[in-house]
C-alpha cells in the first residue's frame, strides 16, 4: 500500500453502532485505513442508549455478552476489571449487569487509543464534531456535507444514525425521559404519569426514586405489560437446521409454542428458549414472508418485546418494591386526551376492555413510548435529505430504511448503493433485532468486512 492513496471511510454517527463499525473496520484493515466519525457530541459511544450518567440505569444484557469484539468475548469484562469503576456487582461475574454509562466509557476508550491522522501519516481515526446534513454518492466515492458547510470526502460511508425517541403523542404536556433536567423539575410529592410501561418506564421510575420522589407514580400502556426480568438459566441449544424457516407466521408461532412445551418438559423455561433462538432471529426474520412480518409486528410485537428485552434482576426488584409499597401502579388502558394546566396536566384514559373513563391530574407526564422507527418521521437531517433526494427509501413495513442483507442502502428506484451502508437501528428492516450490542456487533463487523473486501480502499 506504500505508493497508493489510503482509503477513507466516513462513519455518520458516533454512538454505539458508529464506534463498533469504526473499530471493526480498523481491525479488518489492520490499521491501513482512515476513518472519520461525524458526531456532534463531545464523547464517542454516548448515543441514546449509553449517554446516561445515572448509575441506576443498567445494561439490559449481561456483562459477559457485551464485548465489542466477537473474537475476544471477555474484552468488556477485562476492561471493566481494570477500569477501577466501583460496582455493586463483581465485575468478573459474566452474569452481572453494570451501569449503561460505563459501557459508553468503554466504547469511547475502545477507539480513543487509535492514532489521529496527520498529513504525513493519514491512517487513523478522527472525530469531527459536526452534524452531517447530506451525503452524495458518486462513481468514485462519497461526499458528506456537514452543518458548518465543510465536507468530508471518502470512498464509502456508514450510516450509524442510531435510535431516535418516538415522536410525542401527548405533547406539549409531556417531559422527556432522555433529558437529565426532567427529574429535578418534578415536584417531589406530585403524581407522575408515565405513558408507556416498557424499559424506558423502568429507567424513569429509577431516576425518579433516586431524586427522592415521594409522590405516586402511575404507568399506563395499552396492555399494561411490564418487561420480564432476566433469569440465570442457560440458553437452549438450537440449530438453524431445526427451525422451520420460510414458513408463515401462524405456522412459526405454532412451532414456537410446541418448542416452549417440549423445552419445559426437558426442564428449560421460556427464557432459555428465547435466548436459544436469539442467534437465529436474523435468519428467521429474513426468511419470513413479508405479510407474515407485518402480522408479527401488528399482533405479537408487544408480547415478544417484554419477553425478549428483559430487565436486570435488581431493576425488577426495585419496581416490585415500588409496586408493593403502593407508590407505583401499572394500568392497562388507552389514552383519550391530555391537556396542559397550570399545575401540570389533565389526562383521561379508558381502562382496557371497554372499561370506564378515568381522569388523572398528574404534576408531570413522562413519555416513555420508546423509539421511533418510521424513517419518514425522522428528525435526523441526513436521513431526511437521503429520503427527499431518493437516495434512500423506507422499507415496505415502514420500520427502517430499505437495505440489502449486507446493509447497503437501496434507493428510490430499487438500486442498492455500492458505497453507502447502514448499521444498527436504521437497518432494522433487514435484521429485525438490531437494538442491542450482540446484534449490532455482528452486523457492523460484517459491514466493515464487506466494505474492506469490495471497495478499492487499498
Amino acid at each position: 500500500m506504500s505508493n497508493r492513496k489510503l482509503g477513507r471511510v466516513v462513519v455518520i454517527g458516533g454512538g454505539a453502532s458508529g464506534v463498533l463499525a469504526a473499530c471493526h473496520l480498523w481491525r479488518i484493515a489492520d490499521g491501513a485505513v482512515a476513518v472519520t466519525i461525524v458526531e456532534p457530541r463531545p464523547e464517542l459511544g454516548r448515543g441514546l442508549a449509553f449517554g446516561t450518567r445515572f448509575d441506576g440505569h443498567l445494561l439490559n444484557v449481561r456483562a459477559g455478552q457485551m464485548s465489542a469484539l466477537p473474537d475476544r468475548p471477555d474484552d468488556f469484562q477485562t476492561w471493566l476489571a481494570a477500569s477501577g469503576a466501583r460496582l455493586a456487582a463483581d465485575p468478573r461475574d459474566p452474569l452481572c449487569f453494570v451501569p449503561r454509562g460505563l459501557y459508553g466509557r468503554y466504547l469511547d476508550e475502545l477507539v480513543a487509543h487509535l492514532p489521529r491522522p496527520t498529513p504525513a501519516a493519514p491512517a487513523g481515526l478522527e472525530h469531527v464534531r459536526q452534524q452531517c446534513v447530506g451525503l452524495l454518492e458518486r462513481d468514485d466515492g462519497v461526499t458528506a456535507l456537514l452543518a458548518d458547510g465543510t465536507t468530508v470526502e471518502a470512498q464509502a460511508a456508514i450510516l450509524a444514525t442510531g435510535n431516535e425517541p418516538a415522536a410525542s403523542i401527548v405533547s406539549p404536556v409531556a417531559m422527556s425521559p432522555w433529558d437529565d433536567a426532567t427529574w429535578a423539575a418534578i415536584p417531589r410529592d406530585g403524581l407522575v404519569l408515565t405513558v408507556g410501561t416498557g424499559l424506558t418506564m423502568a429507567d424513569s421510575v429509577l431516576s425518579l426514586l433516586a431524586t427522592g420522589h415521594r409522590g405516586p407514580i402511575v404507568a399506563l400502556s395499552r396492555r399494561g405489560l411490564l418487561p420480564q426480568p432476566h433469569g440465570a438459566a442457560p440458553p437452549l441449544a438450537l440449530d438453524l437446521a431445526d427451525i422451520p424457516l420460510g414458513t408463515s407466521i401462524a405456522y412459526l408461532t405454532r412451532w414456537f409454542r410446541r418448542l416452549l412445551r417440549d423445552a419445559a418438559g426437558r426442564g428449560y423455561g421460556w427464557r432459555s428458549v428465547f435466548d436459544g433462538l436469539r442467534p437465529h432471529l436474523r435468519a428467521i426474520w429474513q426468511n419470513l414472508p413479508p405479510d407474515s412480518r407485518a402480522r408479527f409486528l401488528r399482533h405479537a410485537r408487544p408480547l415478544w418485546d417484554v419477553h425478549r428485552h428483559r430487565l436486570a434482576p435488581s431493576v425488577d426488584a426495585a419496581l416490585h418494591r415500588a409496586r408493593g409499597g403502593g407508590q407505583l401502579t401499572i394500568v392497562a388502558g388507552r389514552l383519550v386526551s391530555a391537556e396542559a394546566t397550570a399545575e401540570g396536566a389533565v389526562v383521561r384514559y379508558r381502562r382496557r376492555g371497554g372499561g370506564e373513563l378515568v381522569e388523572l391530574r398528574p404534576a408531570a407526564v413522562i413519555e416513555c413510548i420508546g423509539l421511533a422507527s418510521d424513517p419518514l418521521g425522522s428528525a435526523n437531517p441526513l436521513l431526511r435529505d437521503l429520503l427527499a433526494r431518493g437516495a434512500a427509501r423506507p422499507d415496505l413495513l415502514g420500520i427502517g430504511l430499505d437495505v440489502t442483507r449486507d446493509g447497503a442502502l437501496i434507493d428510490a428506484t430499487g438500486q442498492p448503493s455500492t458505497r453507502i451502508f447502514a448499521v444498527g437501528p436504521p437497518a432494522r428492516a433487514a435484521f429485525w433485532e438490531i437494538t442491542s450490542i450482540p446484534d449490532i456487533r455482528t452486523q457492523s463487523a460484517d459491514t466493515a468486512r464487506k466494505i474492506w473486501q469490495e471497495l478499492p480502499l487499498r
Binding site: L236, L240, A241, L245, G246, R405
Partner: protein, 153 residues
C-alpha cells in the same frame, strides 16, 4: 435422508412452480403427473398450505398454486416443514434431539461428529437453492456459482 413425503412434496412444488401466473392445478392432476398416491399428496399439500407455501382455491377453477414466488421458497424451508430438522441422525439435531440407545459418550462419538458436519453441508445446499432453481433442470450450475449468486445470512 429425504423421506417419501419430502420427495413427493418437492415434486408437487416443482409442478406448481411451472404454472403460469394466476393459474391453479387440481390435486388429482398433480398426483397423476408425478405418480404420487392421491391421499398421501392430500396430506402433504395440506401441510404445505398450513406452512404458507401453497394456497388452495375451492370450487370451479379451483386447485393449488404457490403462495409465494418460486424464487422466495428455499428447498430447506420445504424439507424442514415436511421432514422436520435437517439432521441425518437424531443426536445431531439439537431441537429434536434424541440420544442414541447405545450411546457411550456423545462428546467423543465420531459418528455424531461426522453427522454434524453432514447436517451443516446439507443445510448449506438446501438453504441456498429455491424452487425456482429446480425449475430449470437443464441448466445445473455448479454449487460454487450458486453460492456466489445467492449468499444468505
Amino acid at each position: 435422508m429425504l423421506t417419501k413425503k419430502g420427495k413427493y412434496g418437492l415434486k408437487a412444488m416443482v409442478e406448481l412452480g411451472r404454472l403460469p401466473e394466476g393459474r391453479t392445478m387440481l390435486l388429482a392432476d398433480i398426483a397423476e403427473a408425478n405418480d404420487i398416491p392421491k391421499p398421501f399428496l392430500e396430506i402433504i399439500l395440506g401441510e404445505l398450505r398450513q406452512a404458507g407455501f401453497v394456497r388452495s382455491k375451492k370450487g370451479r377453477g379451483g386447485g393449488y398454486a404457490l403462495a409465494r414466488p418460486a424464487s422466495e421458497i428455499h428447498i430447506g424451508h420445504l424439507v424442514r416443514a415436511l421432514d422436520g430438522a435437517l439432521a441425518p441422525i437424531s443426536c445431531a439435531s439439537r431441537a429434536f434431539y434424541k440420544r442414541c440407545d447405545d450411546c457411550v459418550d456423545e462428546d467423543t462419538c465420531a459418528v455424531r461428529r461426522m453427522m454434524l458436519d453432514v447436517r451443516q453441508a446439507v443445510s448449506d445446499v438446501l438453504d441456498r437453492r429455491t424452487v425456482a432453481d429446480m425449475l430449470a433442470p437443464a441448466a445445473v450450475e455448479n454449487l460454487t456459482a450458486t453460492l456466489e449468486k445467492n449468499p444468505i445470512f
